[in-house]
Assembly symmetry: C2
Homo-oligomer: 215 residues x 2
């Protein structure tokens, strides 16, 4: 025995691995999963193609990890927004606004996570992601209904619907984030974005709160 994995190496390996994930994340957040071929990732990370496979068994595994990481970050933010003090409608509003604003900010990433055509392995992951969002809303709704802060309704359907509203209004239309940018040289002003967010919020709150509600 003349070789053993030392701590220094272990650390360096972790760093290298992390680097690959970062490179892949960058490509995804910047140009989508379509641009994240193994060789592109390798180039971005300044290593050889083969090296990627010393750290990940397959492209799918790598991209799943990237997806999971990005996703977790997003979901956490929304979950945090839910944990505001206040009535169920107020918390719901906070959550929806958080979700929507972040999607607008990181258009391309949002598109990649929500709408970009991806290979089945990642798509599977996406299901979990949407589920995670839906669950946040669902729990909140359930609680609100219990406390009679919200009218009777199917929490699971309403939750999925909210996710759908945001996906479609923000990400769907923007889906290929390039086309639009080619035409409108002017990017939509922050004012417009605010208007959009408030339209969406109004829609969802009214749907969920029904004939009472204070927006």
């Amino acid at each position: 025995m003349a070789y053993r994995e030392t701590d220094k190496i272990k650390e360096r390996k972790a760093e290298a691995r992390e680097n690959i994930v970062k490179a892949a994340h960058y490509l995804v957040a910047t140009k989508g999963f379509g641009a994240a071929s193994v060789s592109a990732v390798a180039k971005e990370a300044d290593i050889a193609t083969g090296t990627v496979y010393k750290y990940f068994p397959s492209k799918g595994e790598l991209l799943c990890e990237v997806f999971r990481d990005a996703t977790e970050r997003e979901v956490e933010k929304v979950a945090a927004a839910v944990n505001t003090a206040g009535s169920a409608p107020a918390r719901l509003q906070a959550a929806i606004e958080c979700f929507a604003r972040r999607a607008i900010q990181g258009r391309r990433l949002a598109w990649a996570l929500i709408a970009e055509p991806v290979d089945p392995q990642v798509d599977q992951e996406r299901l979990i992601y949407r589920q995670a969002y839906a669950e946040i809303f669902e729990n909140l709704l359930r609680e609100g209904i219990l406390k009679s802060e919200l009218p009777q309704q199917s929490p699971s359907v309403s939750a999925a619907a909210i996710v759908g509203v945001i996906s479609e209004t923000l990400v769907g239309p923007l889906s290929p984030p390039t086309r639009r940018e080619l035409h409108d040289t002017v990017k939509p002003s922050e004012l417009d974005e605010e208007r959009l967010v408030s339209s969406i919020t109004r829609f969802c709150l009214q749907a969920v709160c029904g004939p009472n509600s204070s927006i």
Copy 2:
């Protein structure tokens, strides 16, 4: 000159072409675009791979045509539902129910049209498709607002939101229509489906009609 395209031949060609489209449609409606490779389509149509190219310049063109056909049929139905007599909310309800019911019936087709990862050429077409749906709703909303049957709101955002609600609640969760079916041997009863449709309808109507509304 010793040959000219006769009527009989013209007809036969049209038939052959139609057959290819039908075969492709069958595959798409049955197993999604992923299963509609050129050779699979050819086999389904009982012809040689190369023959497909005597009728279509590329796979993309063929699939676009399939997509467009299927799409038109769907959109027409919803458009018809809108043309009911009655108040804006009533017509909206009819349209949403029509959209939703059809999606539930033809799950796989709905999934292919709305959510399946597809190649960019078809994806482009999909954008138009969603737009078509959104426009139906948008016009209706605009009209309703004008007649004061609906409260002030952004018709374009609300319209997109409605499309999003239906996509997510019906197609998203069902997206890989197989997985679910592997577990639940029992398919969701018609009763459940009705409940689902009515939940969705309620959500959308309340969102759009606001603090008045009669569901």
